[in-house]
């Protein structure tokens, strides 16, 4: 017997695919923005900045589709939670992409300034945040609560790294007035990456809610 | 309160008991007294010795024949009248008139049919007093029976079948022929059987239209006079010169008539109940 809701399921599937695509774009944006920063690649930075429009549009698109699906298909229970999750997750993804833009803008500013010091912690933060995002998206696709929970735990590492970067750069600033601007920007970058991880944690919480019906803040 | 209600209900049950008891008593009495008389001879022989002896063959023959003739007339007329009423005529003035006529026919006392048969078929159409006049007269009398039961059967065919037929591009006659009539067949059959059962036992309408007290020969054409079972009973019980002597014959004839009409009615009931069950399933 065919599932009588298969059309709705198809639409839901499309929506999830859309979300995943958006997640991937956001992830790439962050990745590229950090690459642009490190490699002083203004073109790449510009790409991230202009690319954000696509993501913003996807955000709107998906939201409208969700509303339409609610209006037209009267989802209940898990279906409804899925749509709720998508609705909230796209906001986080959109924010993540915005942070990528913020970073890219800083990359553009710093591109023609001498490097303060070799980038070590920031790429590590980026890597960590993005691996979290990967896991968040994967847990969404596979409805994998365990993965989501583990992923959320890693947020602490990102926070620790942020504090470390913050303190280090603070020292630079106090030591060398000429470094102030650059260091400040880098602090912002670190801060943005920390936010990326925070938003990623939100996604994880949402996945858990979607599957279990329980919504709990994990990154207090 | 409760007790009083039980008493009421008891009285209604008592009514049933009385009616059913009487019915069974009638049957019992007739069977008890009639069964001894019935034999092959009784069925197959003509009456003898001034109708004090012998059988009832000519009467039985006459009854069956006139009923058959009636059927030939009444079934097509009745069925198609019903078809008209239910399929073609809804809302038309003509069908209001037909319906009025049918209701009217059903309400006319049988003796009035007899008068009409005499005035119209026998005298006006000059069909003479015979099988045909009688059959037509009785036919008119049972026409409402056929129309009503056919119409009921037609009505029981859900309108949605017709709409479905039309929506598939069928014409009216196709819908009637291929969907409505087959579906209504059991009902039509019941109507026909009931009309036979009814017509067979009617005496009043044939009193003046062709029945004979005694005939030495069987009717050979539809214009001939005939003997009839019901009339036979009537005559034997009221006009016979020796009522006591012919009592067994009276009972025998009555039993035969009763068996005929009952069996027909029982068949009709069976068909109907089967039909009803079929519709539910």
């Amino acid at each position: 017997m065919v599932n009588p809701r298969h059309i709705f399921d198809d639409e839901l599937k499309n929506l999830r695919a859309d979300l995943l695509r958006m997640g991937t774009l956001a992830r790439e944006a962050v990745d590229k923005s950090i690459k642009a920063l490190i490699n002083r690649d203004t073109n790449l930075a510009e790409e991230v900045i202009t690319g954000d429009d696509v993501i913003d549009k996807m955000d709107l698109d998906i939201e409208m589709k969700c509303m339409e699906l609610i209006a037209r298909q009267q989802p209940m229970a898990r279906d409804l939670r899925t749509i709720g999750t998508i609705l909230k997750t796209i906001t986080d993804l959109e924010r993540i992409a915005d942070h990528a833009v913020d970073i890219a803008k800083i990359a553009k500013i710093l591109a023609d300034q001498p490097p303060l010091k070799p980038y070590i912690d920031i790429p590590r933060m980026c890597e960590l945040s993005l691996s979290m995002l990967d896991d968040a998206l994967r847990s969404f696709v596979n409805e994998d609560v365990e993965l989501a929970k583990k992923m959320c735990e890693r947020d602490d590492l990102v926070d620790a790294l942020y504090n470390q970067v913050f303190r280090e750069l603070l020292t630079y600033m106090m030591e060398d007035p000429k470094a102030v601007v650059r260091a400040l920007y880098l602090i912002f970058v670190a801060r943005f990456l920390e936010r990326v991880a925070d938003h990623t944690t939100n996604v994880g919480e949402r996945v858990i809610y979607m599957v279990t019906g329980v919504l709990k803040e994990l990154n207090v | 309160m409760r007790f009083r209600e039980k008493v009421y209900v008891f009285f209604t049950a008592l009514a049933v008991l009385i009616i059913v008891g009487l019915l069974f008593y009638i049957i019992f009495d007739i069977v008890k007294n009639g069964i001894r008389v019935i034999s092959w001879e009784f069925i197959s022989q003509p009456p003898r010795e001034g109708m004090t002896k012998g059988g009832i063959f000519p009467a039985l023959y006459g009854t069956l024949l006139r009923t058959l003739l009636m059927l030939i007339f009444v079934v097509p007329v009745g069925v198609f009248t019903a078809v008209y009423l239910n399929e073609y005529g809804s809302g038309k003035n003509f069908s209001k008139w037909i319906r009025l006529a049918i209701n009217n026919l059903a309400s006319i006392p049988s003796i009035v049919f007899g008068l009409f048969g005499l005035g119209f078929f026998v005298l006006f159409l000059r069909l003479g007093a015979g099988l045909l006049s009688s059959a037509l007269t009785v036919g008119l009398l049972t026409l409402p029976l056929v129309v009503v039961s056919t119409e009921e059967a037609l009505k029981a065919v859900p309108n949605s079948y017709r709409e479905a037929g039309f929506a598939l591009g069928a014409t009216k006659w196709q819908v009637i022929r291929m969907i409505v009539l087959p579906q209504a067949l059991p009902g039509i059959l019941t109507g026909a059987i009931l009309s036979v059962g009814r017509g067979m036992g009617e005496v009043a309408p044939i009193l003046f239209t062709g029945v004979a007290y005694y005939l030495p020969y069987l009717p050979s054409s539809v214009f001939d006079q005939f003997m009839d079972l019901g009339y036979h009973i009537y005559i034997m019980t009221t006009q016979s010169f020796n009522v006591e002597l012919t009592k067994p014959i009276q009972y025998g004839s009555t039993l035969v008539l009763l068996i005929l009409t009952f069996s027909l009615n029982i068949i009709a009931i069976l068909i109907r109940s089967k039909m009803r069950r079929g519709r539910l399933g």
Binding site: - | L23, F94, N104, G230
Partner: protein
Amino acid sequence: MEAKERIAYIVVSLLASVAIVSVILIFVFIAKESLPVFFNPEIKKEANLRIFFLTRDWQPIGLEPKYSFLPLIVGTLKVTLVAIVVALPLSLGSAIFTAEFAPRRLREIIKPIIELFSAIPSVVLGFFALMVIASWVQDIFHTSSRLNAVTAGFALAFAVIPITYTICEDALNTVPRELKEASIALGATKWQTTIKVVLPSASGGIFAGIMLGLARAMGETMIVLMVSGNAAQITWSFLDSVRTIPATIAAEMGEVAFGSAHYVTLFFLGLLLFSITFIINYIASILLERTQKRLRGER
């Protein structure tokens, strides 16, 4: 295809008009044969409305034929009254029992059995009445004549019961089950439900059943012909022999000369009978339709 349709339509319409034509013909012919009562001076001398309704004797055979309808009407009314008095409680009671109180199985047995009554030809009923009921009546009432209004009325009741029963039962049955359930769910007992909800809802149908039974009783021929004694007399006693209108026609029509005053009078009786039963039936059918409509929830 078009032609077939047209032919089918024409044939069906023609057959359908048989009923109308018949009714008209019946009326026309009965009326035609009885019209001389008004228009033929010869016949008017012997048979006219004054004689029919203002004299007291029915003696059609004899030197001076007397054609008063009054004894016939009285006779008809007597047997009808007896028939209704006997049949009504029995059939209505049974209808209530079958429709409301009998378990379903029992009901499916009772109903066809009672309806089988209508399958008994009236000669057979007449015969039975002659053989059995007449004796009962004589034993009970110690009458001089076995054949009288009570006997005939009693026998007629057998003819009336199935009609009245069937119509009443149907009427009770068409009362929607939801109505009964509603009443019971409101805390009414079954009997209260029957009396307060079911009977009022079905009252039109029940009344119609009674009327139709009445018409049947008035028009019935063979039974009364066989067991009423056929004495045309006006008395108060129900234990006297009576002669009814249909029985008179049946008994006398066979022996009259066509076109004679007697012949015409008999046809006029037929016309009278026809009219009375027509009116009763008409009222009944209106009642029935109205109740059914109401129960179906139409206005």
